[in-house]
């Protein structure tokens, strides 16, 4: 994987279609093409302070999380993509779609990650899906058992069960305890002891889907209460260096999100305020755990209007 970005450039703002014209050629006649226009790409480190980055994808090459979160926090960027990773064009397209067509992403998120962009024959035969709607924390144990069977029964995924189980567990904790709010926007269960059973009025949905090369696990809730700027601030603190202070934080203080990011290669937290929150984590398959840990991560934390 090579790129031709000049690291020494001070200003690097280009339209996405212009910058990645060669890589995007296969998609030239795709109905998704219009969604790519009007979205800019900016090299990390060359961001202009004060610039509105809501329609900008910040890109880096192997940028460490500390710097990624500095960009999200200091410059209010919402999308950071590592372009030295294989398949980065897909990540650019997903980011552009999130910026310009968020309703499409919200309506069918798994299709954005596990799809046949390259027109492979019999692609469907590669894919497996699991979807589970939960109304109570009491159902978590059953889901994790089903998930365990789903992951362990396939040679492509069996090595990643610990990571995936932690991702699902943390996604559910967020969906049950942090997400539910009342009509006035007050959190209902944020400070509730995690041992308690909670039954929010709106069910959440967990999905896990994979093909031969990547697996995604996600959770959607229908409260839309995620405060993306607060999450960015929290995670910026966690990743700014040194070990995390677990004792200093309580439930809902971001340690779960940090663990999700540590256990995945890409993290998406998208909120349509008062409507829906969608959190998705992705893992590449066919790589050792070490190679996954060494991969620079893509981070997307955004507020959209569907």
């Amino acid at each position: 994987m090579t790129t031709d970005i000049n690291v020494g450039e001070l200003l690097f703002v280009m339209k996405i279609v212009d910058r990645f014209m060669k890589e995007l050629t296969p998609f030239a006649n795709s109905p998704l093409q219009p969604a790519l226009s009007d979205v800019e790409v900016q090299w990390a480190g060359a961001v202009t302070p004060g610039k509105d980055l809501r329609k900008t994808i910040v890109v880096g090459e192997g940028t460490e999380l500390r710097v990624v979160f500095e960009h999200l926090y200091n410059y209010k960027a919402q999308h950071f993509v590592q372009i030295n990773r294989a398949g980065f064009v897909r990540d650019i397209i997903i980011s552009a779609l999130l910026i310009n067509k968020p309703a499409l992403f919200f309506s069918n998120p798994s299709a954005f990650f596990v799809n046949n962009f390259s027109g492979e024959p019999n692609y469907e035969k590669q894919t497996r899906k699991l979807s589970f709607s939960l109304k109570s924390t009491d159902e978590k144990a059953e889901l994790l058992s089903i998930l365990e069977k789903f992951i362990l029964e396939d040679s492509r995924t069996k090595n990643y069960f610990p990571q995936i189980a932690v991702l699902v567990d943390e996604l559910l904790s967020n969906a049950f305890f942090n997400a539910p709010i009342d009509a006035f926007g007050m959190h209902l269960f944020k400070n509730t002891d995690r041992r308690m059973t909670v039954k929010p009025s709106k069910a959440c949905r967990i999905f896990c889907v994979h093909d031969n090369t990547r697996l995604v696990v996600g959770c959607e809730d229908f409260y839309g209460s995620l405060q993306s700027e607060s999450l960015v601030a929290l995670l910026n603190g966690h990743f700014s260096g040194g070990q995390t202070m677990a004792r200093a934080v309580g439930p809902g203080a971001g340690l779960g999100c940090k663990m999700m990011i540590e256990n995945s290669s890409g993290f998406y937290a998208c909120v349509d305020p008062m409507q829906k929150t969608l959190v998705v984590c992705e893992l590449p398959l066919n790589l050792s755990v070490r190679k996954i840990e060494e991969m620079a991560k893509n981070i997307h934390i955004s507020t959209v209007r569907s």
Partner: protein, 166 residues
């Protein structure tokens, strides 16, 4: 998915707590008081997972153990990767003064997509700064039991072995 469990075994001078299953919000580590024996070994060999609530509960409990039993010699034994990750990432997951007796080192065969590993022992395969010694580790060479090829280390040394210098 195995639920959390805890049982205790004792020898002449040592209490050993054997933890197993998923350390989560339901985990109960018991009273943090160990007056009977001078040594405490916490055996993690059967722990399969830990979530963020489990991490917070653990940090709180082990902190109480350390504070409430100042003369107790505490060691972590047979620490699997899921716990090693927290030892290295979370401050006070393994508090100052607690020693690492043994831990799991993961390996991977890319050709066979096979995970394997070994358990390293303190004093034989490694020593840490908190042992009062110059830190070292002897990483073995593993061959794949299926194809016989050399297995690759499946950990990032700078992260996974950070505890050696702590």
């Amino acid at each position: 998915m195995r639920k959390f469990d805890r049982n205790i075994t004792e020898t002449i001078a040592t209490t050993q707590i054997n933890l197993s299953g998923f350390i989560n919000e339901q985990a109960d580590f018991g009273l943090p008081k160990f007056a009977k024996h001078p040594n405490l070994i916490i055996n993690f060999s059967s722990v399969t997972l830990i979530n963020s609530t489990g991490v917070m509960k653990w940090v709180g409990w082990i902190g109480q153990v350390v504070a409430g039993n100042p003369k107790l010699q505490i060691m972590f034994a047979n620490v699997p990767k899921v716990i090693m990750d927290q030892v290295n990432l979370v401050k006070n997951f393994m508090p100052a003064g607690v020693r690492m007796k043994s831990f799991y080192l993961p390996f991977f065969c890319e050709g066979c997509n096979l995970q394997s590993g070994v358990t390293l022992e303190n004093g034989k395969d490694f020593a840490t700064k908190s042992d009062g010694q110059k830190p070292y580790i002897l990483i073995p060479k593993l061959t794949c039991p299926q194809c016989g090829e050399a297995m690759a280390e499946d950990f990032v040394s700078s992260k996974y072995l950070k505890f050696l210098e702590a």
